[in-house]
Amino acid sequence: MTQPSILLDGLPVPFVDGQTIMDAAMAADIFIPHLCHHPEFKPQGSCKLCTVKANGRYVSACTLPARDGMEVENNSPDLNDKRRTLLQMLFVEGNHFCPSCEKSGNCMLQALAYELEMLSPHFDQFYPNRAVDASHPEVLLDFNRCILCELCVRASRDVDRKSVFSLSGRGIDKHLIVNAESGRLADTDFSWADKAAHVCPVGVILKKRSGFAVPIGKRRYDVEPIGMQVERLAARSADEES
């Protein structure tokens, strides 16, 4: 029996049973934009950046199992337009001032914005008022940039077995919380050695006193656009930063 495959933008892409569209694409070195997906964790399906059209229906590539013969549209003006709008939503929902952000150049949100040629936030800024948590000796939490992808939640719960992070609130008031009555990271058992310390795709969970170490021009997405880094994205694992 031949291996089953999907038709991704007209290209046959093989997959093995149980793989999602995202898994199959990544294995074939094809880029589908994504933020909440990480090969090491259970799919989440919340950012919707990976929205593709499978057999004519809009679906999330990171959660939908591939099926033999499925026709998937990925790199199209319509989808990229929708993805750009999603990025703009994420930008205005938080406070993203890249010039003063330590993650700049290594940030997936920013890299995707470049990839999808997002030139402006388009919508009115929400400018939410979110306090920074600097209580922890090693780590700073800047919630202003949280995109609620739950990667830290999943890493801390499923890998570190600490459940340091969780989400609270609902709708536009949804926000990240930490596992302490005081609400302070210092009062949790979080440590820089945790997996959860190294999965944030944006600039929320930051090591103190080590920012801006790599010069502009040499940072991850200065070197090469994110769309060309599929192999590295697919190989992300426990010991590597997102």
């Binding site: 929400f126 459940s163 969780s166 609130g169 709708g171």
Partner: protein, 617 residues
């Protein structure tokens, strides 16, 4: 209830019996938090810590759940918590003015706890009393038919700190308002009749009758019930042992959160045996030993009667071991209360909530029929669907299939409210025309009907000849009528805010998009909108429709889209002719600086003159 500060030990004391009642089961977290809040008055941080410890859950998870539901309070909400139902039908009946009136009388600001900790006043999504609004909830108890007079009296009762039990009973009266009965509402079988009929048929045959009936779900999606039951019946449980133990579940979706819908309320209050019978029949047919009712928090007032009824059924052998005298046929029913979250009506969010979690819709597949409650095969059905199943058990599938239309068999309950003479429940065979319904309920000057609530469809006059049926205008039951004097823009704006408030926040498009469109609508409402905002709404609509994770986000812009198509002048009247205006008031944005500097000269203002370049600068 009170707002005193408790120390941690005291809280643990108060919590212990609640946790014990639920056997320390983490899946019961939502129920435990609800009951703990009843005792303590709110959910202080130390109580969440104690709950987490007692249930061996991460504290952050407990806080996450407590922070999700509208009816959970992390800060004291006051000894009297007044929540005005904020459906458009309540607004049309003057709820906005009544809210202001109550706030004035009580000297409180909306959304803020009074300084003495006595009372807070706010709004909540539709409470399901649209046929007898304006309505409110005080400490979870519904008050209907509000008037200025009643509001004044209520403010006195609150100020006198009279316990709710001593308030006039009349205030709490909830009417059924059944206006038209068909096969369901004229049913008068004794409790257990349907269950006995199903047992007599046998589960195979019962399923065959269901197939014959072609019954489709009444909760909105219109999925064929027999297919659901059959899939769950066939699906493998986690383990063989689970299957032996009947670890399948049937769930009655009594969340009824869609604004304008209140038919399940009437079924639960006046036809509870039909509901329980239907649930038992479903359980019998798929081989489940447990049925759960997910009752929306707003209907908590129905709980005592429902529990009493379950007791009665237990005594008469309709629940518990050897149901209906059949040895080996065991069936139990539990009632879970929601805590204020419309999204929990979505069946997978409902399952999460039943499992004590945040009500976030699950990724599908897998579907509940294969992996539902506790990962086991589960059927989720609407209250009305289950009542219909009970009728089918008694009268057979062929009989049912003969009613209504070919694709939409049987009858449908409509919850009619808005600009009609006789709001209430109307049961029609499927296929009835909108026109006919309007005539029957006394809607003289209707310009529009919102069918199936904000997530449904807005019909304009030229569509009134269409019929209520899955093949034409499907509905979960809401039927809100808007007379020609109503402003359809305000209707849509109310719906936009409803979705913004109820978005669970899981996925980006719905979480941010519902806020963006609500902002657009507010901007247009203030007369600051332009064609630009209209285009934005269309664009966001397309995105939400395509990319949202669940039906809430997918439908969230429907009412805007519909009214923009059909009632464009209501928007256009408000648009300004300029090509773009800021969403905020520029002059107001200078107010803080004016105050600090004491300036009031022309350059310290923005106004019409300042808009012309060079004039004011």
């Amino acid at each position: 209830m009170s707002e005193e500060c408790f120390d941690a030990e005291e809280l643990e004391e108060l919590l212990r019996p609640v946790v014990e009642r639920h056997n320390g089961e983490p899946l019961q977290l939502v129920q435990i938090l609800r009951e703990a809040q009843e005792v303590v008055g709110y959910l202080p941080a130390a109580l969440l810590t104690a709950t987490a410890r007692a249930l061996k859950l991460p504290r952050a998870q407990v806080e996450g759940v407590a922070g999700f539901y509208s009816f959970f309070h992390l800060t004291p909400p006051g000894r009297y918590r007044v929540l005005f139902s904020d459906n458009i039908t309540d607004r049309m009946l003057g709820s906005g003015e009544l809210l202001d009136r109550l706030c004035n009388k009580l000297w409180v600001e909306r959304r803020k706890l009074s300084e003495d900790g006595l009372v807070s006043v706010d709004t909540t999504s539709c409470t399901g009393m649209c046929d007898q609004g304006p309505a409110l909830l005080v400490n979870g108890q519904p008050l209907t038919r509000l008037s200025g007079e009643r509001i004044d009296r209520i403010s006195e009762l609150i100020r006198a700190q009279l316990p709710l039990g001593d308030w006039p009973a009349e205030y709490f009266r909830v009417e059924d308002n059944i206006r038209r009965r068909d096969t369901l509402l004229s049913a008068e079988w004794p409790a257990g009749e349907a269950l006995r009929a199903a047992i007599a048929r046998g589960s195979e045959a019962m399923l065959a009758e269901m197939k014959l009936s072609n019954l489709r779900g009444r909760g909105g999606a219109g999925f064929t019930t027999a297919i659901k039951w059959e899939s769950a019946r066939r699906a493998a449980c986690h383990t063989e042992a689970d299957a032996q133990a009947g670890a399948r579940y049937v769930i009655c979706n009594a969340d009824e959160g869609e604004p304008g819908t209140f038919k399940d309320r009437v079924l639960l209050s006046s036809y509870p045996d039909l509901v329980f019978d239907g649930l038992s029949v479903a359980g019998f047919t798929i081989g489940a030993r447990k049925g759960l009712i997910y009752l929306r928090g707003e209907y908590a007032y129905l709980l005592p009667a429902l529990r009493e009824n379950l007791e009665r059924r237990r005594r008469s052998g309709l629940l518990g071991r050897a149901v209906g005298g059949e040895v080996g046929l065991d069936f139990e029913i539990d009632i879970h209360l929601g805590a204020g979250a419309y999204v929990c009506g979505e069946e997978t969010a409902l399952l999460e909530s039943l499992e004590g979690k945040r009500g976030i819709p699950r990724i599908r597949p897998p579907f509940p029929v294969t992996a539902g409650y506790r990962g086991q095969p589960t059927v989720v059905n609407n209250v009305e669907t289950l009542c219909k199943a009970a009728l089918i058990a008694i009268r057979g599938g062929a009989w049912f299939a003969g009613l209504g239309t070919k694709q939409s068999t049987g009858s449908k309950l409509l919850s009619i409210s808005g600009d009609v003479e006789m709001p209430g429940i109307y049961e029609y065979p499927f296929g009835v025309s909108v026109e006919q319904v309007l005539q029957d309920c006394g809607a003289g000057n209707a310009q529009a009907v919102q069918v199936s609530g904000p997530s449904g469809v807005c019909l304009a006059m030229h569509e009134f000849s269409r019929s209520i049926a899955f093949e034409d205008v499907p509905t979960a039951g809401a039927f809100m009528v808007f007379g020609s004097h109503r402003d359809m823009f305000e209707v849509a704006r109310n719906f936009a805010h409803f979705f913004k408030h109820e978005s669970c926040g899981f996925c980006t498009p719905c979480r941010v998009g519902t806020s963006l469109v609500a902002n657009c609508m507010d901007k247009i409402g203030k007369g600051l909108g332009t064609q630009y905002e209209i285009n934005q709404i269309f664009k966001i609509h397309r995105l939400l429709h395509a990319a949202s994770h669940c039906g809430l986000g997918q439908a969230a812009c429907n009412p805007l889209f519909d009214t923009l198509q059909k009632f464009r002048p209501a928007y256009e009247r408000r648009l300004c002719s300029l090509d773009f205006e800021p969403a905020f008031d520029l002059d107001q944005a200078l107010a803080a600086a004016r105050q600090m500097t004491g300036r009031d000269d022309p350059a310290a203002h923005f106004g019409f003159a300042a808009r012309l370049p060079g004039v004011a600068s």
